[in-house]
Symmetry: C2
């Protein structure tokens, strides 16, 4: 039926209770709720209704209630959700209270930006090591750290307790870096390189491709334009095979 966990609040014990297996879609929204909750907390709100939080997070209120119900009953009927309590709960579920150590590989154009992105530090992550394969980059200081050669990756992962690796290299180098990360013991990878990574089971990979997002928008632009215009015009160039008739 439902997971009921009473007594073991995350603030009191560091023990690991049973893990509710949340739907993947819910997990992806929890960070959004968390951000909205932090905003609310800053404005002094102590409680918030599902309607209010849903609006702040840009989702449907029913969806939000169902999402939160998966982690337990942390709301009060007739009142709403306790902001501070919910923040603690979500941060605990996401494992953000551990301030995970992150390694960033590739300090090129994008890597520089990521190394300096304060959104990581402010939301529970510490970039503790920077790597690059280019000897020219190695040794340079960047945002309080020194760029190290990628050969030192295995050593650094152990020393710093790194569990997450971020790949910001060109596509051609990404697979090799991923292999190195996995070999070093990293079990989660965030990949910014435009390519498919092959990793063993048990390693999680998430991909962010900036150009893909633009291409999706481009499709919608194209669609919108074709609707406002007079339909009928088509053919990119090679329009031959028609599925109609015989």
């Amino acid at each position: 039926m439902s997971q009921q966990r009473q007594g073991s609040t995350p603030a009191t014990t560091g023990a690991v209770p049973a893990f509710p297996d949340l739907p993947e879609a819910t997990i992806a929204r929890l960070p959004e709720y968390l951000r909205a909750l932090h905003n609310l907390a800053e404005t002094g709100s102590e409680t918030v209704s599902s309607e209010g939080l849903a609006a702040a997070a840009g989702v449907n209120s029913a969806k939000l209630r169902k999402d939160l119900s998966h982690l337990g009953s942390y709301g009060t009927r007739g009142v709403g959700y306790d902001v501070a309590l919910l923040i603690d709960q979500i941060e605990y579920i996401l494992g953000l209270d551990q301030r995970r150590a992150v390694a960033l590989v590739g300090v090129g154009n994008l890597g520089h930006a990521l190394a300096g992105y304060d959104g990581f530090a402010s939301r529970g992550f510490r970039i503790v090591a920077l790597f690059d394969a280019d000897a020219e980059q190695v040794g340079k200081p960047l945002n309080g750290l020194t760029v190290r050669h990628i050969d030192e990756l295995g050593q650094a992962v152990v020393e710093e307790g790194i569990t997450i690796g971020v790949i910001a290299t060109p596509a051609g180098a990404a697979q090799a870096v991923a292999d190195d990360l996995v070999a070093a013991g990293v079990t989660s990878i965030l990949n910014f390189a435009p390519c498919v990574l092959s990793v063993p089971a048990g390693v999680d990979v998430r991909k962010v491709d900036l150009a893909i997002e633009l291409q999706i928008l481009s499709f919608h632009e194209h669609r919108k334009a074709s609707l406002t215009a007079i339909p009928g015009g088509r053919s990119p160039e090679a329009g031959n095979q028609e599925a109609v008739g015989s």
Copy 2:
């Protein structure tokens, strides 16, 4: 997703529908297929099977066939897909043959990286204007362009034919920038600021939040850690609930 569509299905379809309304999930995968196809084209492949292309794109082959079937029959049974033809088709559907003009607002940490990201230019987009609200930034050259003040946005959108705007500002400024973009006539927005944007119907917004991806990975790390920490059996089926030993 974070965009709303008002799907009006016109009953008046005289000829071949210029625009098949593809499932959203399919659209999101087309750019991935396109990238894989370009890689294949570079290696000299003229045709590719659904199995091969699916592997290169990191998806199931049945899914790929179904996706491609939505845009028409561009494969040959017993042979596979013509690489060049499929590239043309997908690029046409995505509207990439128009090399859309893109405006980038916010040339801070992330904005710098985006302005220099060559993945945009190589995949059908032209960043034609850079904007910032900070007077200190205005006038500086960046990647062949000059940073302009955001007040000139409306003018530039018209002059350059900009249809897509990219927001790389702090969260506090994002909504105002979005309003400016919409007012200037932009109908698609890619938002890197960690906040919810409110836009009128007909405007598409896609959001990329770098920290959210890390938080999702963090959850899986947390989950994996809690599973390995349980002594005894680690069978996923046997583990039901309330294994909290006290």
